[in-house]
């Protein structure tokens, strides 16, 4: 009995497998619209759920949730999405509500309006980036001149 495992190894493995399967299923459930490779979509492409693009899309793309552009995929359209991960090519302006991730294989030509931006080294980007929270007229560093040393709160030794 001393050498007996409290939980058999196989059970642990199956539990892990089940957990991974469940997470995979969860991901599959989340994925609603998939544009497969060698498929062309033209027009106002809109979806209420997540979009995964592996082929070509031209026109406009809109989703309130996550947009994934896989490597080899091409979007020639203005994009509006909740969040996005780009590994393919995008030609058009992008307006992303939350986070945008540009993977090292991505090529983006167009202006980007985003809250959080993450760019991996190797990603190619040509365009203007606008982020909320900073205005053009605002001074980035506020300076204050001190008349006396006491005002500055600095004490000199000696």
């Amino acid at each position: 009995m001393i050498f007996q495992r409290s939980v058999p190894k196989n059970v642990e493995e199956t539990n892990e497998l089940e957990a991974s399967e469940r997470s995979h299923q969860h991901v599959q459930d989340e994925v609603e619209t998939v544009v497969g490779p060698s498929v062309n979509v033209e027009g106002d492409f809109a979806s209420e759920g997540n979009i995964v693009v592996k082929g070509t899309v031209s026109g406009s793309v809109f989703t309130s949730k996550h947009l994934t552009v896989e490597m080899g995929a091409k979007i020639i359209a203005n994009v509006r999405a909740g969040s996005a991960t780009i590994a393919g090519e995008v030609k058009g302006n992008m307006k992303i509500k939350e986070a945008l991730e540009l993977v090292s294989t991505s090529r983006v030509v167009g202006d980007i309006d985003v809250k959080n931006l993450k760019v991996e080294s190797g990603a190619l980007l040509y365009g203007k980036i606008t982020m909320p929270g900073i205005e053009v007229g605002e001074k980035s560093v506020k300076t204050k001149t001190f008349r006396k040393a006491e005002d500055a709160g600095v004490q000199f030794a000696g």
Binding site: T33, V34, G36, S38, V39, N40, G43, F45, G59
Partner: protein, 254 residues
Amino acid sequence: MYVYIYDNFLRQKNFLSTIHSMEVILTDYGIAGKILRLQNYTDSKAVIEDEIKRGAKTVVIVGNDATFGQILSRSATCDCTFGFLPVGPNNTIAEVLGIPVGAPACTVLSRRRKEFLDVGWMNNRYFVSQLRVMPAKLEVIYDERFKVTAADKMEVVVCNLQPFFWKRDKKDREQRVVHPQDGKLEAFIRPLTKSGWWGYKYEEPSIFPFEEMIITGKEPFAVEADGKLSKEIKVKIKLAHSKVEMIVGRDRKF
């Protein structure tokens, strides 16, 4: 009053014991009723409407996916509650409805947990399980907003209740399943690309949830809806919300 419509294949010897045990359970529950047998040329709509006039309130389909599709594609508009007792192989819809195959299905039927199901509408008839457009050069327009095309032929499968099973290629052992959601129809588009001199290879499928779709082809293409084959040049597919009242199980997938 309950009316049971048995598929013709249930006459085979290997199903006799299951059918017998089901009939015993149904009698025990007090929900046994008239039994009708489905023949090849039976018009299920006329038969069901006749039974409704005689006082039938619940029509129970006994058989597999094919039986389910054959009856409901014709009689989705009938004013009655439908039940399903799945027997034998090829029962994928039963899983979606949360009904176990064989005798345990009688318990689900007796509990009478009712749900309204959406039905697909194709040109001039309903389809319940699945619609398949055989590989052809097609153009698909979704909700009058965007158009989907492929370089060569493509196959379109529209799923309502039946899950979509697919494999990457012939060597792929893992069978992938996508379960359709309620409230929308799911279209699975698989383009074919040339491989070698004669052969074609299936590409990964594209998935589009939709409510209305138009498929057009330059040449007539074959369409199979609930096992019924026809040739069309233009197909308009729509979703008819909450058309069928159905007795479902607790473990249903919607």
